[in-house]
């Protein structure tokens, strides 16, 4: 059993760090000649919205609940495992693809890279989205309603 508040905090920070990490990685690889300028902007245009929807929900939650204590409710191990593993695999795949493209380790051309990024987003986006929604949007609603009942 794990505490929901701790999972929320860990996952939130992980997603935000991945979001900005991906941006820095792409820009850094552009300066290392791993991407052309057009490739760099296209990659950012693909990667940033992938994370932005999650990051927005997380940041909104953190700002809204900056004064309230975290929930001490426990969640099942399966939930905790999937909540971390799916986003981790997703982030790992995105980072690996970016590096592979920049070092010419995979992909015949930039179009293949773009297509695979889009496929990856479709594969993982739904599942990661479920966890983010449940933890940071539904969770926020539950906290608000329980705070109301408590008061």
């Amino acid at each position: 059993m794990m505490v929901e508040g701790r999972i929320r905090k860990g996952l939130g920070l992980f997603i935000i760090a991945s979001h900005f990490g991906a941006i820095i990685l792409v820009i850094g690889l552009f300066f290392a000649h791993g991407f052309l300028f057009e490739e760099m902007t296209t990659t950012l245009a693909l990667v940033v919205p992938m994370f932005a929807s999650y990051t927005t929900a997380i940041v909104r939650y953190i700002i809204k609940h900056r004064h309230s204590p975290e929930s001490q409710r426990t969640v099942s191990m399966e939930f905790a495992f999937l909540a971390f593993s799916l986003p981790s695999i997703f982030v790992l795949c995105v980072f690996a693809m970016i590096v592979a493209k920049a070092l010419n380790l995979a992909f015949q051309n930039f179009d293949q890279f773009k297509t695979l990024l889009a496929v990856l987003e479709s594969l993982f986006g739904l599942y990661v989205g479920y966890f983010i929604t449940e933890l940071f949007e539904q969770g926020a609603k539950r906290r608000a309603s329980s705070a109301k009942t408590g008061s």
């Binding site: 690889l29 000649h33 920049a102 070092l103 010419n104 380790l105 992909f107 015949q108 051309n109 930039f110």
Partner: protein
């Protein structure tokens, strides 16, 4: 096609107006159309669409084939010389290739705008497959889009348009003085071609140069140079790929060659070169750098050929 569509749209508008007109009485008020009126309106509507489409289709300019072109396409006794086939990116295969029917009797007649040339392998190097920088060259020059049947007659069906880039640079003809090497047949370019290949091997390393085609009889060599970095586009850190065509010519005793260079580039941070499909053409973005590099290369080859012949 566009004209036909616009004709259909025009016809559509006319038909709609007609319907509206028929559905109004003399005082301008709407009334329900009778069955026969509706049928008449529908017939007129479709008739107008058909007529306007037919009229606009007729207005598409059809260029005539020149005499040379007719010979080239249909006559068995095609005279020698160079012909330019221009490849224009288009919507479909039929529109992509056009033939530039000006016959070129010698190398200097080859249009400097033609950017990439290689022997098409038709009836022994009488044609050069070229691409142009723009469509300007072909306007009003007696050209028409080639069909697949034309290409088959020319033996070009296996030359996909993708093989040649629409953009690259030609250098001006470079004269060189080459003393006859003992045992060398002045009418035969075998040694000259071998010397040129050696020049590229020495300049770029044997592993990086591949000879794409070698036509000793007609003095033409195409080499591809890969694994270049920061050579043509200095200080950009990009991988580069270069295809060079060298065509030798002869005017009396004087020998000269003309060279064209097609450059491509790709990104890549590591030491592994990108696959060939990842490269993009340098033109028009890096035209100046490519042209400057081609001119430098031309001078080096000119010197090399002159020295090695002495």
């Amino acid at each position: 096609m566009v004209a036909s569509v616009s004709g259909m749209i025009c016809g559509n508008h006319l038909g709609k107006s007609l319907r509206k007109l028929l559905s109004r009485n003399s005082s301008g008020e709407s009334r329900a159309m009778s069955g026969s009126n509706r049928r008449t309106a529908n017939w007129m509507f479709w008739f107008l669409i058909f007529v306007s489409a037919a009229v606009t289709a007729q207005q598409v300019p059809q260029a005539n084939i020149s005499q040379d072109a007719a010979k080239l396409l249909y006559g068995p006794d095609v005279i020698g010389g160079y012909y330019l086939v221009t490849i224009i990116p288009g919507i479909n295969d039929d529109a992509r290739m056009r033939i530039h029917f000006d016959s070129c009797r010698n190398l200097e007649d080859v249009s400097p705008f033609a950017s990439f040339a290689y022997p098409a392998g038709v009836a022994g190097f009488r044609y050069m497959l070229c691409t142009t920088r723009s469509e300007e060259l072909i306007i009003g020059r007696g050209v028409r889009p080639l069909t697949k049947a034309d290409l088959a007659k020319l033996g070009l069906q296996d030359a996909p348009p993708e093989r040649s880039s629409p953009y690259c640079v030609w250098t001006p003809p470079a004269r060189f003085v080459r003393a006859t090497v003992p045992g060398e047949d002045p009418a035969n370019d075998t040694l000259l071609v071998a010397t040129t290949i050696n020049f590229f091997y020495g300049r770029y390393g044997k592993d990086n140069v591949s000879v794409e085609s070698k036509d000793v009889e007609h003095g033409h060599i195409a080499v591809t140079i890969s694994n270049l970095r920061d050579t043509i586009l200095e200080r950009l850190g990009l991988w580069e790929w270069l295809q060079v065509n060298v065509v030798f010519g002869r005017r009396g005793e004087e020998r000269f060659f003309q060279m064209n260079a097609e450059g491509r580039y790709a990104s890549g941070a590591g030491s592994k070169p990108p696959p060939s499909t990842a490269f993009a053409g340098m033109e028009p973005q890096y035209h100046e750098q490519l042209e400057a590099y081609a001119l430098r290369l031309r001078t080096q080859l000119q010197d090399y050929l002159s020295i090695s012949g002495k």
